[in-house]
Amino acid sequence: MAKYIVKRIVTSVVTLLIITFLLFFLVRIMPGNPFPSERMTDEAIAAKRLEMGLDDPIMTQFIRYMKKVCVGDFGKGTSLYNGAPIKTVLNKAISNSFKIGGIAILLGTAVGLILGIVAALNRDGFWDVFCSVFSILGVCVPAYVFLIFLQYTFAYKTSLLPYFFDSMNFFKSTIIPSVSMSLFTMSTIARFTRNEMVEVMDSDYVRLAESKGMYGTKLVTRHILRNALIPVVTVLAPLIVDLLTGALVVEKIYGIQGIGKLMVDAISGEGIDYNYVLALGIIYSALYIGMMLVVDILYGVLDPRIRVAKKGGDK
């Protein structure tokens, strides 16, 4: 197991490095001159380029950039936020996105699990039908449509909740975005939990437990849930990444200063801010790869069968 974890960590780090280098390379080969050529002489530009190390080989530049990134320094934005240091803007954006995303994940997972379990226990009953209709709805309608709907009814028509995100009024203004973001997670988790539960409930070992006289809560928690929930971890991971890194459109519509909004600003404005694209690209990839790593390891820890298989199958 330890060998597997180490191997997995190493490949993740290497993958991240390759992606970062590709991003860096792609942004560097963009045409364009960082200095205003009409106001500076050729010699001055050449001197400035030398000073900033822009004529160094790309590997040297990359290593220099990575050294800074490791201490959290992403440089400054070229056009966004008047060239404020990316680090400060990013810190705030990440904390906003993570708070709202976190609430959405908790809400989505909790409600989704309960709904899935209730649906599986009342198979073909009202809750089962409700669960399948709900999960179809959640998959077919994007989160931002729910957001627009909630915003229209609860903020515009009735003004029960704020129309835009307001960090002064944090609790009230997180309700609309986190609820609308959680619906996709909720429906996916509910459907998945329900299907896994049903499969486990039909299995031989549950029948054995029943025939031994086990029933009710004890049977559900000790035998059914434990086995049904393991696969749920795998679907949860990409959902968490999506939510934490900001449902882009949700943040844009609701005016949340999060990573998603930052990304939209960086690519969809008049001028594209390369430094932000680079910094956000690295952050997104790191989160994504990190999350996949955690899930893979967690999966091995949770499910002894996989642990054994991986130990045996490791080459």
Binding site: T11, C140, V141, P142, V145, Y156, V241, I272, G281, Y288
Partner: protein, 329 residues
């Protein structure tokens, strides 16, 4: 009279009720036995037909601004922000300003803030979205299948190099790919297509590879090799036709993803550009006018949701029809 005909028993009865079926006929029957897949198919077919015929039937162009001349003042009145006008029914619905000037015109979904017919725009947008999805997924199928089949067939070093590449490509979040593309390409339909081309082939290649690994151990491949068939012939002639089933299922799940991605990119402002429209850009338009013309956002959302629903139902139905579990038979 030939050697294989029975001499006497001309009255042998074959069991027609439980006649054995060919594989594809079985798939067909199982697919249509499910209510959900039939519903999905009907939804998708209806939307495709409307996307083709809808803009033609309305008599408006998708970018045409409707207007009439006010007979009293002689000035032009533009059909801005009209509520849906369905013949006979429109009297029950609310009236917009200038309503009386357009008493003889039909706007089934109303008009937008510039005076364009929303019925036409909605179906034109659906057409654009569907076209983008179909074209990109078709190309992705070709790329993904070739990649996966070759990787799976040759195995060994070729396979591990190709799979490392897939692993890396798969670790790049879609959003990062889009943002890097936005740096390199002009915004618009091209960006959406390239973004989808880069991301969607990976799933196809994984399925094609898995199928190849399964099939290449079978006897008929060995027979083909023994008879001297070339690698190319085995990969594309013998194995490829047998991977079609899972690939079609994957296509049915990829099309909604493509439509969703397109809608999302257009909403963010790097996708379809005006005056062209797609489902995503129509939702964005509707959102921008939601406080004044709240009905404008409803048709594109419903079309988007129905497309998702239809393709997902078809995908589910196909998956079950192609690989039936014993208990479903």
């Amino acid at each position: 009279m030939n050697d294989f005909e029975l001499l006497k028993h001309h009255d042998i009865v074959t069991d027609e009720n439980f006649a054995s079926q060919t594989y594809w006929k079985g798939v067909f029957t199982r697919f249509f036995a499910k209510k959900r897949s039939v519903i999905g198919l009907i939804i998708v077919v209806v939307i495709i037909v409307l996307a083709i015929l809808g803009p033609v039937l309305s008599g408006y162009e998708y970018r045409e601004i409707s207007s009439v001349i006010n007979p009293e003042t002689g000035k032009e009145v533009v059909a801005k922000g009209l509520a849906p006008r369905i013949p006979f029914l429109h009297k029950l619905l609310g009236k917009a300003p200038y309503d009386d000037f357009f008493a003889d015109k039909t706007f089934l979904f109303g008009t937008d803030d510039l005076g364009r017919d929303l019925w036409t725009r909605t179906w034109y947008g659906a057409r654009v979205s569907l076209l983008i999805a179909f074209v990109t997924i078709a190309i992705d199928v070709v790329i993904g299948m070739c990649y996966g089949l070759i990787s799976g067939y040759f195995g060994g070093v070729v396979d591990s190099i190709m799979q490392r590449f897939v692993e890396i490509a798969n670790s790049v979040p879609r959003l990062v790919i889009v943002s890097v593309l936005a740096v390199f390409m002009p915004k618009g339909i091209g960006l959406v297509i390239v973004a989808l081309l880069i991301t969607e082939w990976i799933g196809m290649s994984k399925i094609a590879r898995a199928e190849m690994l399964k099939i290449k151990e079978l006897e008929y491949i060995l027979a083909g090799k023994t008879l001297g068939a070339s690698n190319l012939q085995i990969i594309f002639g013998d194995v490829l036709p047998n991977t079609i089933g899972p690939i079609i299922t994957q296509v049915m799940f990829s099309i909604p993803t493509a439509i969703f991605t397109e809608a999302f990119l257009s909403f963010v402002g790097v996708g379809i550009m005006l005056p062209e429209c797609s489902v995503g850009s129509l939702i964005e338009d509707g959102f921008n006018n939601i406080t004044t013309l709240p009905y404008q956002i409803i048709p594109p959302i419903i079309v988007l949701a129905l497309l998702m629903l239809g393709f997902n139902f078809i995908g589910d139905g196909l998956r079950e029809a192609l690989a039936p579990k014993l208990k479903d038979m």
